[in-house]
């Protein structure tokens, strides 16, 4: 089993490619890898329930650890009680922890 850290900095309102990155995350998880999706910058926007949140919600419910950068959430006024079920706020230190741990890291 391999650890993957997938950092999503873009949002589905801005980029159609976000969907494919999330599909890759799901595929890696289904293939038996441990996958963390870390949302940062505008990537946290769909973590507040809205019309483009479904794919993210499904990932969080299907074995992918979905974290959202606390700093980015605060910048955008997204409080913890507005986050999709299964999405947790986390400090950016988490990314450095995972990098230091040797995961395969992809930034989108």
């Amino acid at each position: 089993m391999t650890d993957y850290l997938m950092i999503e900095s873009r949002d589905p309102f801005d980029s159609g490619d976000v969907a494919n990155f999330l599909v890759l995350a799901e595929g890696l998880s289904k293939a038996g890898n441990r996958v963390t999706l870390f949302l940062v910058q505008n990537g946290v926007l769909p973590a507040r329930h809205g019309v483009r949140s479904a794919q993210l919600a499904a990932l969080a419910g299907n074995g992918v650890e979905v974290l959202a950068d606390s700093f980015s959430l605060q910048e955008r006024g997204i409080s913890a009680n507005r986050l999709l079920p299964g999405v947790k706020a986390a400090p950016l230190e988490t990314v450095v922890d995972r990098l230091a741990g040797g995961c395969k890291a992809l930034w989108h």
């Binding site: 490619d17 494919n20 890759l24 595929g27 890696l28 289904k30 890898n33 890291a105 930034w107």
Partner: protein, 126 residues
């Protein structure tokens, strides 16, 4: 160390740079001894199209002499022994047929990307 390089962005600054900077660095890294694979996905699948070309570009009297030759840049990587894949789903979505593409491109379905990632030590996304 083997790296898989997933390239998504296309035609960003390619006229100013007279190349795609990510394809360019793939060549440079190969020259530095890197063992790597390349996956073209999203709009970057268009880099496999044979018919790409650059109309003459002139800004005032300053004419461009060496426009980017992106299909050649991709073919060049293949010629150097780099495995270059294109995501077939993305080609289809963009209305591209196999006869329009340069030779030597390996097809990979979106669903098979996870397995491909597993064959490399690191996966870099561009």
């Amino acid at each position: 160390m083997k790296t898989l390089n997933i390239i998504e962005t296309a035609y960003r600054a390619t006229l100013e740079e007279q190349d795609d900077p990510v394809l360019w660095i793939m060549h440079a890294l190969k020259g530095a001894g890197a063992e790597q694979g390349v996956v073209l996905r999203a709009n970057a699948v268009n880099y496999t199209v044979k018919a790409q070309g650059v109309p003459p570009l002139a800004i005032g009297a300053r004419r461009q002499q060496q426009g980017p030759r992106l299909a050649e840049a991709v073919s060049g990587l293949i010629g150097k022994g780099v495995e270059v894949y294109a995501v077939s789903d993305d080609l289809t979505e963009r209305g591209l047929q196999s006869e329009e593409l340069i030779d030597g491109i390996k097809m990979v379905r979106k669903a098979d990307l996870p397995a491909l990632c597993g064959g490399y030590d690191q996966v870099w996304h561009w």
